[in-house]
């Protein structure tokens, strides 16, 4: 059923499904098309050629191609949160309900204010902005640049979060075939028949490449029917994965390819749970690039007018989509393939007004056919200019003698020859090679494992595509060990493909565009050359040629050919710009996949997480961990109140804090002690079994790396902890020391962070509580289990446990650990059994307050630039042994006594608040950099002292005790007088933790 309004739909042609009519709108106007159409073919079926406006001059733009190379048929697809700017109508698969809008125009596509830019184009030449907008200087920020920026870009990004989901997947194969034209299909079949694992991907929704677009015969049947049979065979094989709608966009090291599959782009929106697109990482032992070739236009006057179309595109619209791209055509070519388009035009009932070919002589068959069609033949002629505004109305032709002819037509078909799609063969650094006979670049030296076949390889005849594809497929399979036998090459009809290199009509009267999207004209190329931008890469950057969404697929070779003419160099000596991934643009959503929003990074939960959540804990991100920051009571309205309560609860009673996030590592083996001696600045081999020791580690450059404790459970069994943030880094460092520095030490390292739920139980009543948790007869008295004692025991009635008499808070404290699965039980039991003791849970905020009160260093002090001496641990360093970092820690810059050292600070006005990040300057000096003495690293309101306390680094800290200095914080508008004091604010003798 042909809809009436598809006035340009051809009866009986194409592979669209006429039983499925789809409605769509363009700029709000409703149209109809068929399943199997692209937006472009459906628009053409309805006679719509004007689809957009160009970037700089806002000139009307139409549909130049039928593929992913299109520079001008860009639309905004969909609306609202799903709006997709710059979508190529030529590859947008039509679906029922599709909505598209033209872009870069105001107020409408036909009447666009900024089209005046076109009048100003003599001023807006390439690079004009570098030469102007400089006076007066202040106008740049306020006027010129905002103006330039407003004009930037084409389509508009959605305003809201992308509502669709994206997926990632991995695939492995023996042979990856990129492209499913004649070459790709034969490659896939020959490789697949050998049993190799094959992936065949094509960016289109239909397999077949040009075989669908050309009216050809293979093995006696129509090429589209042949494709169907070939795909039928491939889909029956279990060793083949077919990926339609999938663009291989980049080649990466080690045979890795990036690909994007448009899973649901042909639907109004994805089905529930279905991703919109999927990123494939394909690992291929061998890859066959069978991506075909892209036709290039010829540069002539007004060659950007809607109605100017590539010959191959016209054939696609006729043969694949059954659409007539116009009624009367002028064909302008430089090669047989382009010229032969008159056949397809005529078959579709399009009248051929003229065949203009830059070559002085044409093959007889073509001449004869043109004559038979009644077309005027201009051998050795050119189309100098298109006539018409928003649609081609005619063509200006200059014949071989120089005479001018004007013909009317609504279609100008152009063909300047083909550029193999070999971009991906250069992604890993290869350079393409020039072939004079084809007037094109073809793949040069290929990366390991990659070959090219068919038009991508410069083999343009169908017969050679079929043969080369088959050969490449079996060679690839054989290469990776399959018994690949040569397969029969199907017979194809004959063709001629002569070409002469022709790029640019220099007698054009109007602007002649090289890059249609970025509005780069032949004159711009000449100007750039005149101004010295004559290296291809300079040309590109100065004029922006080839930098638009099509990446110069139809323009860059023309541009460099024109440049070569101007400089008198050959094209290969002129060179070609570097191609980069992606081969065609890929949505950011697909590249991000599912890792966005809350799932941007994994979340790590502590063993007491569920319990803490029940308690209404407020959580904080600590690296990948979620930790309880504090546990507010319903009546507590601010965090400060809660934290003060928690600190007081610990200092006066007992509190429990989940410290399971500490990195934990089992270090075993006869040489474990020796090994740890080399890692820590202090001695660990002398630690008695059943005891723990605080230790510090340096990086090899002498700077503090981490601190923690080491406990010794047996002669050959240590258990060390690291800070939460450094857990992974320290294990990696230990493995390096073990495997690389000292492979002769007999030591085994087992990361065990997740094994243990570990809780600090702290406060004067901690012993009472712990005694109720550990199993009898374990004795927790100070005498039996003193400060820094450790033990393996059981708790909660037979559960394996470890007890450490360690204190971070400065109170009598323990850390008790049970296997993580019992972590929640332990927390609940502690709370239950401690009820009468007034037990409370406390979070990392209270933990932090107490460590600052005690003057323990933490993350802000161990910031990667401080030495052990800087943070007050200088005395811990053993003089009797070597350890990582010892030698370089002795460099003068690190031992200089003027280095800022750790000190404590309290506000002179005890009611004042301290802030970290403030800088210190002398009380009576200007707060300028030259007078800076250090900075505040950690602050807390100390409930124990009733005022704020701070830690920080201060030059000459030892000699400034008691001095009053300024803590200057201009970004927060604060300036506070503080007194320099010892960093230990609370129980400096440590009496409380030894009771």
């Amino acid at each position: 059923m042909t809809s009436e309004n598809q006035a340009f739909r051809l009866a009986g042609r194409g592979v669209v499904d006429r039983s499925k009519t789809f409605s769509f709108t363009f700029d709000g106007i409703p149209y109809e098309g068929f399943a199997g159409d692209t937006l472009a073919s459906a628009l053409l079926a309805n006679g719509v050629h004007l689809v957009g406006r160009s970037f700089k001059y806002h000139r009307p733009r139409g549909i130049l191609t039928s593929g992913s190379e299109d520079p001008s048929a860009l639309v905004e697809l969909r609306t609202g949160a799903r709006r997709e700017p710059n979508t190529k109508a030529t590859v947008t698969e039509l679906y029922d309900g599709l909505e598209a809008t033209s872009q870069n125009r105001f107020p409408s596509l036909r009447f666009d204010f900024l089209a005046v830019n076109s009048l100003l184009s003599p001023v807006f030449s390439a690079g004009f902005y570098y030469k102007t907008f400089m006076w007066p200087a202040s106008f740049w920020e306020k006027l010129y640049e905002p103006m330039i920026r407003r004009a930037a870009g084409l389509g508009r990004a959605a305003m809201e979060e992308d509502p669709d989901s994206y997926d990632k997947a991995n695939a492995f194969c023996d042979v990856l075939v990129v492209g499913s034209g004649a070459a790709g299909l034969m490659a896939a079949i020959s490789a697949a028949r050998s049993g190799a694992r094959v992936i065949l991907a094509d960016e289109s929704f239909a397999f077949g490449g040009r075989l669908l677009a050309e009216n050809r015969t293979i093995d006696g049947i129509n090429s589209a029917a042949w494709v169907k049979a070939a795909i039928g065979e491939l889909s029956s094989l279990s060793n083949v994965r077919l990926l339609p709608r999938t663009t291989i966009f980049g080649a990466y090291d080690g045979g890795t390819y990036g690909a994007v599959e448009r899973v649901a782009d042909h639907l109004v929106k994805p089905a529930p749970g279905q991703p919109r697109q999927r990123l494939w990482r394909i690992v291929a032992k061998r890859t066959i690039v069978a991506q075909g070739a892209t036709e290039r236009p010829i540069v002539f006057g007004n060659n950007d007018r809607p109605g100017v179309m590539l010959a191959s595109a016209a054939r696609s619209y006729i043969n694949r989509y059954g659409v007539a791209p116009g009624r009367t055509a002028v064909v302008f070519s430089s090669n047989d393939d382009g010229a032969a388009t008159i056949n397809d035009l005529a078959n579709a009932g399009i009248s051929v007004a003229a065949l203009v070919d830059a070559r002085p002589a044409l093959p007889d068959a073509i001449t004869a056919r043109a004559e038979a069609l009644g077309a005027r033949i201009f051998a050795g002629g050119v189309v100098s200019d298109a006539i018409g505004g928003s649609r081609v109305k005619g063509a200006c032709i200059i014949d071989a003698s120089g005479a001018t002819h004007t013909l009317s037509c609504d279609l100008i078909i152009v063909s300047g020859g083909f550029n193999p799609n070999m971009q991906m063969t250069t992604h890993l650094g290869g350079r393409p090679q020039w072939r004079d006979d084809l007037a094109a670049f073809v793949p040069g030296a290929m990366p390991k494992g990659m070959t090219a076949a068919g038009a991508a390889n410069g083999s343009f005849s169908l017969a050679s595509c079929l043969a080369e594809g088959a050969r490449a497929g079996s060679a690839a399979a054989a290469d990776v060990g399959f018994d690949a036998k040569p397969i029969a090459i199907p017979a194809s009809d004959e063709e001629s493909n002569g070409i002469s290199a022709f790029w640019h009509v220099d007698r054009a009267k109007h602007k002649a565009f090289v890059d249609l999207q970025n509005d780069v004209t032949a004159a711009d190329v000449a100007l750039a050359q005149r101004e010295g931008f004559s290296a291809v890469e300079h040309l590109k950057r100065y004029t922006t040629l080839g930098m638009a969404t099509d990446q110069g697929r139809t323009s860059s070779v023309n541009g460099l050919a024109i440049l070569a003419q101007l400089t008198g160099k050959t094209i290969p000596a002129t060179g070609i710009t570097t191609a980069r991934p992606p081969y065609s643009p890929v949505s950011l959503g697909a590249l991000a996949g599912e890792h966005r929003g809350k799932h941007f990074k994994p979340t790590r939960l502590t063993p007491s997480h569920n319990w803490a959540k029940e308690q209404g804990a407020v959580f904080v991100e600590a690296g990948l961990w979620l930790r309880a920051l504090y546990f507010p009571k319903p009546f507590e309205t601010d965090a400060q109140t809660t934290v003060i309560r928690e600190v007081n609860g610990v200092r006066n009673g007992v509190g429990v804090c989940d410290v399971s996030t500490l990195g934990k590592v089992e270090v075993h083996g006869p040489d474990a002690g020796k090994f740890l001696d080399r890692l820590y600045i202090n001695m660990m081999s002398t630690l008695a079994v059943g005891r723990a020791r605080y230790g510090a580690m340096l990086r090899e450059d002498g700077i503090m790396m981490d601190d923690g404790t080491a406990a010794r459970f047996a002669e050959d069994r240590y258990f060390v902890t690291t800070t939460t943030v450094n857990a992974i880094k320290v294990v990696q460092h230990m493995e390096l020391c073990k495997q690389w520095h000292w492979p002769d030490l007999d030591v085994q390292i087992v990361p065990s962070t997740d094994q243990w739920a570990q809780y600090a139980v702290a406060g004067p009543r901690a012993r009472d509580l712990i005694a109720r948790i550990v199993d009898k007869p374990f004795d927790v008295s100070n005498a039996a289990f003193p400060y820094m004692a450790v033990a393996e025991l059981t708790a909660l009635g037979g559960i394996k446990a470890r007890l450490y008499r360690l204190s971070f808070s400065g109170e009598l404290a323990y850390e008790i650990a049970v296997p993580a699965r019992h972590g929640e039980l332990l927390m609940r039991t502690l709370m239950e059994k401690g009820q009468d003791l007034g037990v409370i849970p406390y979070g990392t905020e209270a933990l932090g307050v107490m460590r600052i009160e005690k003057g323990h260093v933490g993350g802000p002090e161990l910031n990667g630039t401080t030495t052990a001496a800087d943070v007050g641990l200088g005395k811990m360093a053993s003089k009797k042994k070597d350890y990582i970092g010892r030698v370089l820690a002795e460099r003068p810059g690190l031992t200089n006594p003027d280095r800022p050292r750790l000190a404590g600070f309290r506000p002179v006005d005890r009611a004042a608040r301290l802030r970290s990040g403030a800088h210190f300057v002398g009380r009576n000096t200007e707060p300028v950099a030259a007078n800076a003495l250090g900075h505040m690293t950690s602050v807390a309101y100390s409930p124990s002292l009733g005022h704020w306390v701070g830690l920080g680094f201060l030059s000459g800290a030892e000699t400034r005790m008691g001095e009053i200095i300024r803590a200057y914080d201009p970004v927060r508008g604060e300036d506070t007088l503080v007194e320099v004091v010892s960093p230990t604010f609370y129980d400096s003798e440590g009496a409380r933790l030894r009771v």
Binding site: Y130, T132, W140, G153, A592, R596, G864, V928, A932
Partner: protein, 419 residues
């Protein structure tokens, strides 16, 4: 009369005569036998150094020797962010000098490199990050540099469409330097080249330095792919190739070459006004005057001399982008590329003498040397002309690692792939 001074008048005049009167922006010079100074490397730094040598230090018998086309290195492939929001006293005055030079660049060069001070905003997501930014902001303010601390609401007013509500690492605020922004990268190279050329500097392209002539510990000139070129002084400004070039003089530098990728999307109508950096994922973004979103992230993480990277980092960077800006999911990546970073062992640069008399080094710029271009050029010129470091570049000594005077903003130590 050819138009060699750029102005609105010359542009209009040329518009009327079909743009035929423009001269090449710089001459295609061929090497002379001898120069006072040869600069190796026609990137931003080499060209700027030559310009200032000629303009400020009166040395015009200068050549810049570039192995490819000028600007083919990192100056032509960076994310164009300029800022002076550093933390350490060794860095702030230097980068602020650079910022001031940027601010007067167009008038100085008579070339519009589109210095665009639309603000650089560093987001923070935790109290610890906030405090580190406060420390930095305060240090800047004490050096007379602008810095503002924004809370979450203020950030939301500037960029309402960032991910505030459904974020793994919620935005808590940011440190803003309003004077920061972007500069049109290629134009920096071209503008300095044109300026240097006008002061008589020879810019010699497609000529590779292949060795050094050194006699009794003194430099005498450079061997090139076009023969020997004599020079009393030679300055290296080879960025990612510094080690390779210095090794020809027998030097082993505290540098590693790493690949950093950058990305641009299809052009879309402007919506990101300034530069935004995402503190919880390695990601920074701005929008170019053409409309492309220009962004980058982490190093690929291995030594490389190939100007390209691999897929995992592409994904990683874009995951950061989507986490921060969920509205860009349907915007498409247009192109990705890589540059070779001369990563130093503390993340800060080196502008100093080498042990070879007359041979000077400008390197170690890591992924932050674009913003430094004017000051690096100036300080390198000063060093070469006066034989002593410029006051604002005194911390950038080559021997600072030996003596333990590192300038390590990030605290990552001698592990350049972690900076």
């Amino acid at each position: 009369m050819p138009s060699d001074r750029y102005s609105i008048f010359s542009v209009l005049t040329e518009a009327l005569r079909g743009q035929t009167g423009w001269k090449p922006a710089w001459r295609k010079a061929t090497p002379k036998p001898n120069y006072d100074v040869v600069i190796v490397g026609g990137g931003g730094h080499g060209l700027a150094a030559a310009y200032y040598l000629a303009k400020r230090y009166g040395l015009s018998n200068v050549a810049v020797i570039e192995k490819g086309w000028i600007g083919s290195g990192n100056v032509g492939r960076n994310t164009t962010i300029v800022r002076s929001n550093y933390m350490l006293p060794g860095n702030i005055p230097f980068y602020e000098t650079s910022m001031k030079l940027w601010e007067g660049l167009e008038q100085d060069l008579n070339y519009n490199a589109m210095v665009s001070q639309r603000g650089v905003l560093n987001l923070y997501h935790s109290d610890g990050q906030r405090d580190a930014y406060v420390r930095r902001g305060n240090a800047m303010r004490m050096h007379g540099v602008d810095a503002e601390l924004l809370d979450r609401d203020a950030v939301q007013r500037m960029y309402p469409w960032l991910n505030y509500d459904n974020a793994r690492f919620p935005i808590k605020g940011g440190l803003l330097q309003r004077r920061g922004g972007t500069v049109r990268h290629d134009a920096v190279a071209w503008g300095y080249a044109r300026g240097a050329d006008q002061h008589g500097v020879d810019i010699i392209e497609n000529t590779e330095v292949t060795g050094f002539r050194i006699t009794n510990g003194r430099i005498e000139g450079v061997e090139t792919s076009r023969g020997f070129v004599g020079a009393r002084k030679v300055g290296l400004a080879c960025a990612g190739n510094s080690s390779r070039v210095a090794s020809m003089a027998g030097l082993n530098l505290p540098l590693e070459s790493h690949v950093l990728q950058a990305f641009v999307t299809e052009g879309i109508k402007p919506f990101i006004d300034g530069v935004v950096t995402f503190g919880a994922g390695h990601f920074y973004i701005s929008q170019s005057d053409k409309g492309g979103l220009v962004f980058g992230g982490d190093l690929d993480g291995y030594n490389s001399y190939a100007q390209r990277g691999n897929l995992p980092v592409v994904e990683d960077v874009i995951e950061g982008g989507m986490a921060l800006m969920p509205r860009i999911g349907r915007v498409r990546l247009l192109r990705s590329w890589g540059g070779i970073m001369d990563m130093s062992m503390d993340g800060s640069p080196i502008i100093d003498h080498t042990p070879i008399s007359g041979l000077y080094l400008n390197g170690g710029w890591c992924y932050g040397g674009f913003k430094a271009t004017p000051a690096a050029g100036l300080c390198f010129a000063h060093l070469i002309a006066r034989n002593e470091p410029h006051a604002v570049a005194r911390a950038y000594r080559l021997d600072r690692f030996r003596t333990g005077h590192m300038v390590d903003e990030k605290g990552m130590g001698n592990q350049p792939n972690l900076h």
